[in-house]
């Protein structure tokens, strides 16, 4: 790919932006890639155009509002057939925080195929450039008639020293060993990015056939294409099971949209009293509650609520 680029230095690849009703975060950051030398798209052999019919790459921002839809689709149709469509930020992919509104008609792939997602809220300019570089390679391959087996180009790690000192808010990471299934993360997530389901439960037909009636564990799924990287789940997580990583290398092909998630499973263990399934108390929670748990607490933690009540007040209170 690199060699081909050198052989044909000629025409810059032209970028055209379509705002489908965004909060302007992604748009302002895209403006930075036209105005600030360090992040200028020219370094990728690209330039912005104001004419949709010249567009090689469409950069779509926003959740696709009802009012913006027709204009967005008109601009999309005006761009040449070989165009590569990029969803910038999570809004076009999932609606982000704006999903489930009467005024939002997205996600955009309901109306048009998206080749590449660049998640972020908004993506930092480095992530925008990495995404645009992938889109450019895809466009070059496509205009030669090959569709695209391509590897994500190796990306430079952020060089600026303070950003490493105070890491940026990137992809979320889940540690099931610390999770106590309180579901506060889902409660505070504005984007509905976090989903809990019970593995082996009715809903999970595949697993049910393997183990009818006995749930194996609780599964958390966090969809990176809906997450807005606010970190509120991690802020309210009592045990630190959810944490913010500095990973912003998140651009991926449209076909991967729904596979791009974080998943973890918290297994049920049998109650040491009656054997009914319970979620074990994570050491992180015990530490938060008791600092140094006594042997008695260590024993109680293996009991289900009913057995605990039996132990401490001699009967189960209903």
């Amino acid at each position: 790919m690199q060699d081909q680029v050198k052989e044909t230095p000629a025409e810059p690849v032209r970028l055209f932006r379509i705002n489908t009703g965004s909060c302007n975060g992604c748009d302002v950051e895209l403006a930075v890639t036209a105005a600030v030398d360090e992040f200028d798209v020219e370094q990728l052999g690209c330039r912005y155009t104001e004419e949709p019919h010249e567009a090689d790459i469409l950069l779509i921002t926003g959740p696709l509002t009802v009012r913006a839809r027709n204009e967005a689709l008109r601009l999309y149709a005006e761009a040449p057939e070989t165009k590569v469509t990029v969803a910038v930020g999570v809004c076009p992919v999932s609606g982000g925080v704006f999903r489930d509104s009467y005024a939002v008609d997205g996600p955009v792939q309901r109306y048009l195929p998206v080749d590449l997602n660049v998640p972020g809220c908004p993506p930092r300019p480095q992530a925008l450039l990495a995404g645009i570089a992938q889109a450019r390679d895809l466009w070059r391959a496509r205009s030669k008639g090959v569709d695209a087996v391509f590897a994500a180009p190796p990306l430079a790690k952020p060089a600026d020293e303070p950003a490493q000192q105070f890491p940026i808010r990137g992809r979320m990471s889940f540690d099931p060993k610390a999770c106590v299934d309180c579901r506060m993360c889902r409660h505070v997530c504005a984007a509905g990015a976090i989903h809990f389901d019970i593995k082996g439960d009715k809903g999970d037909r595949h697993l049910r056939s393997q183990s009818p009636g006995s749930p194996e564990g609780v599964r958390l799924t966090l969809w990176h294409n809906s997450c807005v990287f606010c970190g509120l789940c991690s802020h309210y997580c009592p045990t630190g099971a959810l944490s913010v990583t500095g990973d912003w290398h998140l651009a991926h092909r449209g076909g991967q949209t729904f596979r791009f998630s974080e998943q973890g499973e918290v297994p049920y263990t049998p109650c040491s009293g009656c054997g009914s399934p319970l979620i074990a108390v994570a050491p992180e929670l015990l530490h938060a509650a008791f600092r140094r748990p006594t042997p008695e607490i260590e024993h109680i933690k293996t009991l289900c609520p009913a057995c605990r009540q039996q132990l401490s007040i001699g009967a189960v209170r209903r």
Partner: protein, 359 residues
């Protein structure tokens, strides 16, 4: 000769979709019809379907240029209902976040206008200076636009001594460039030729349109929420309201750049006054039934929040008035009799926030 033209975001050089139907007499503007709604995401509906915690993040995405003002004002309203007093350290940290956003927002507005009058070098310079703020935001908050600084009862970020020193160095680095930009907008003849006496909003009309923020202060209206009804740490901070009298495009930019310079000083004062202590009053305070109004000075002017709760986690009603709502009504006055070529500049001179207004 009367004609009607339609202008969209590409003609107006706006980052956001906004459409105007302009009535012309010859080549002069005679009437204006703003056609909003492109960015309407049904926010008032959405906030009622999200609980109070989710709304902190949702409201931060109401608009990314004033993204800190929304959650901080919303949290103030909740704290008012809950009777929670936030710790003093959190008050200072909220002010730091607000002022950082103000500087970046004002610089973006001035940069776009420089571009519109063909001052490409100045445009790129203003954007470069703004990058100092963007880098600071990313280093301290982890994101260049949405800071995620607020939570109910306080803030959820801290300035460690290292981070405070880093921020102080960045503020020092802002001073000379901000002064230089102010002088450019004040004295550069090429810029004056395009901005002085352009898009004038006379003081009386400004009062009639109830404009706020830099648009009002450029007409000599001494109104700044931080001064008139101080909230948070602002009653302990030294600053004066930036005022201009001319009411034109130039005056609005001078107000903005003077304010940006003042914000640098406010951040320095906050860093100096940052008392040790907790960041948040109570991680999960009980929110009883009640109602409250909170207001703050967002980069574009006075931002008012009304909140009514019923004791559950979901707001019963949440309503806000954003500064651009009044300011863009005043465009009719500013644009009247102006040549078509000046429309994009004048529209951008009120720093319209369409995401806030359409919501």
């Amino acid at each position: 000769m009367t004609s009607v033209i339609e202008l969209g975001p590409h003609q107006l050089a706006l980052e956001e979709p906004m459409y105007f139907r302009v009535k012309l007499e010859g080549d002069r503007v005679a009437g204006l019809d703003v056609q909003p709604g492109q960015v309407h995401r049904g926010m008032e509906h959405l906030v009622m379907r999200r609980n109070l915690y989710q709304n902190i993040t949702l409201l931060e995405r109401l608009c990314s240029l004033c993204s800190n003002s929304h959650p901080s004002t919303f949290c103030s309203a909740i704290e008012e209902v809950a009777g929670v007093a936030i710790p003093e350290r959190a008050e200072y940290l909220r002010a730091v976040a607000d002022e950082i956003k103000r500087i970046a927002s004002h610089l973006f507005c001035c940069a776009v206008q420089a571009n519109l009058i063909g001052q490409t070098a100045l445009f790129r310079r203003a954007m470069e200076v703004r990058e100092i703020m963007q880098r600071s935001k990313e280093a301290i908050y982890g994101n260049r636009m949405d800071l995620a600084a607020n939570c109910i009862g306080g803030v959820r970020y801290d300035l460690t001594p290292d981070a405070a020193m880093y921020l102080a160095r960045q503020m020092e680095a802002m001073k000379a460039p901000l002064d230089e930009l102010y002088l450019q907008f004040q004295n550069n003849p090429a810029i004056m030729a395009r901005t002085a006496g352009v898009g004038v909003l006379p003081r009386l009309e400004a009062i009639e349109c109830a404009v706020v923020g830099p648009v009002a202060r450029a007409c000599g209206i001494d109104y700044d929420v931080r001064k008139k009804s101080p909230y948070g740490a602002y009653d302990r901070l030294e600053f004066s309201t930036s005022l201009q009298q001319a009411g034109d495009v130039r005056a609005r930019n001078l107000v903005r750049l003077a304010e940006a310079r003042q914000s640098v000083s406010l951040i320095e004062q906050c860093l100096a006054g940052l008392v040790p202590g907790p960041l948040c009053a109570d991680l999960l305070p009980e929110i009883p039934a009640g109602e409250a109004v909170a207001k703050s000075e967002a980069p574009r002017g006075e931002l008012v929040y009304y909140l009514r709760t019923d004791g559950t986690d979901f707001p019963l009603r949440l309503k806000w008035r954003v500064p651009s709502y009044m300011n863009w009504d005043a465009l009719k006055v500013m644009l009247h009799g102006e040549p078509v070529a000046n429309i994009p500049l004048i529209v951008n001179s009120i720093d319209p926030c369409i995401a806030c207004t359409d919501r």
